[in-house]
Amino acid sequence: MNTAQPKGSGPGFMGLPPARLISYIYFHPELLGLAAAVLWIVGLYLALIWAPVDLLQGEPYRIFYLHLPMALAAYLSFIVVFIGGILYLWKRKRLFDVWARSAAEVGLLFLTLVIVSGGIWGQATWGTFWAWEPRLTFTFILWLIFVAYVMLRQTVKDQEQGARYAAVLGIIGFLDMPMVFLSVYLTDRDLHPEPRELPPEVWTVTWVTFAAFMALLAYILIQRVRIEQSREELEELRASLEE
């Protein structure tokens, strides 16, 4: 993750070793939320106002600053789904499943936004919202797998059984993606803009918006896991009250 990220971290905090730092952030997710908010405001300003306009694509190119980081965040969340699934089947701790499930939900949201934002850009630049182009197809298949994952969770009654099934789907789906990638790239030509000689400002803005999305992803994930943990505690308390 981006090292220049903890903006709202406060004094006396930077000297902590990485493991302590991670656990500190985990128990104070509001810091991440603050960092995400600051990075978002800065990132939006940089992307929409500060960055120079692209000579070839004009103003719509600014969508790229949201589009690319969001896609990367979504791909990253699938790695969380995959690893969470393996750890759940192996260790059988509910926590791993909660991580995987939350990552799938956030990933589905991000991927949906990636496809919509890409479509808006495509409408302006390619003249069409949708094209069967390798990167689009790849992302769309990933989206379908995420949808299947979320649907599977909702159609299995038993929580534990649903967790196991979802883990299996997450593992198979993740291993499937390299083959999807290969087969779509062998079929069609990539129409995405080539990384040309870009002015350094573009990379600066991209890094800031990327950090903003990473902070947001981590923030939502941690909060989601904590909600799930509180719910479990609540249920335990309720059970003990009834006795």
Binding site: V147, V156, Q161, Y165, G173, L175, M179, V180, S183, L186
Partner: protein, 216 residues
């Protein structure tokens, strides 16, 4: 174990007949659907064949597990001291056999309906490679889908996105062969099919026990 799956199926014969009928109907409907619009049926023929195989196969996969559920026979099998991997392999082989059997009828029918020469060694090799991967993932997801609320819908929802590389590679390879391209032109696609087959068989074999853990 494999014997059990095969015997049940042969005795009832209903799944196989339904799969076949469904496949033939798909070919027929596609023929009408495309005849009016497509300039050359040869352009769409490989896709039609694979859609017919996939849909007929999904039907069979679903049946093979709903039999187990209706009769509660899976619990009986799980009480026996057999390896879960063996249960998977027998399910995989039984489904491979039945999809293969329906293909024995579907592929010649396809050749006649669409006036192509699909009864060649290379085309049949591609069909076998595609069917192995299909049955491998199908035998795994079938066991999951049958325990969900909307079972008939969940199997294709789970299966089809995962099968995308297999479908692309099979359709491309079949199409190139029907166009008269030599085998070396489709080597990349055949490689994808083989990798898909191996990966899906190995991973499904390993994770199958987690799916069976508390059946029902």
């Amino acid at each position: 174990m494999l014997w059990k799956d095969v015997v049940i199926e042969l005795r009832t014969k209903d799944s196989l007949a339904a799969m076949l009928m469904f496949g033939i109907l798909a070919l027929t409907i596609f023929n009408f659907a495309f005849e009016l619009r497509a300039d050359s049926l040869l352009l769409v023929a490989p896709g039609v064949l694979w859609v017919a195989i996939l849909f007929a196969g999904i039907l069979g996969l679903g049946r093979s597990y709903s039999h187990e559920r209706e009769r509660g026979s899976m619990e009986g099998i799980l009480l026996c001291p057999v390896d879960r991997g063996a249960v998977y392999l027998s399910k995989f082989l039984a489904n491979l056999l039945f999809i293969g059997l329906s293909e024995v009828f579907l592929v010649p029918a396809f050749s006649e309906f669409f006036d192509v020469d699909a009864l060649r060694g290379t085309v049949i090799a591609v069909i076998i490679l595609g069917t192995v991967g299909f049955a491998a993932v199908g035998a795994l997801f079938g066991a999951m889908a049958v325990n969900t609320r909307a079972r008939e819908v969940m199997l294709p929802v789970l299966l089809l996105p995962i099968l995308v590389p297999l479908v692309i590679a099979s359709v491309k390879a079949t199409g190139l062969l029907l166009d008269g391209e030599p085998w070396r032109e489709i080597r990349a696609w055949a490689t994808i099919l083989i990798v898909f087959d191996v990966v899906s068989l190995v991973v499904s074999y390993i994770v199958y026990e987690y799916v069976l853990e508390d059946w029902g």
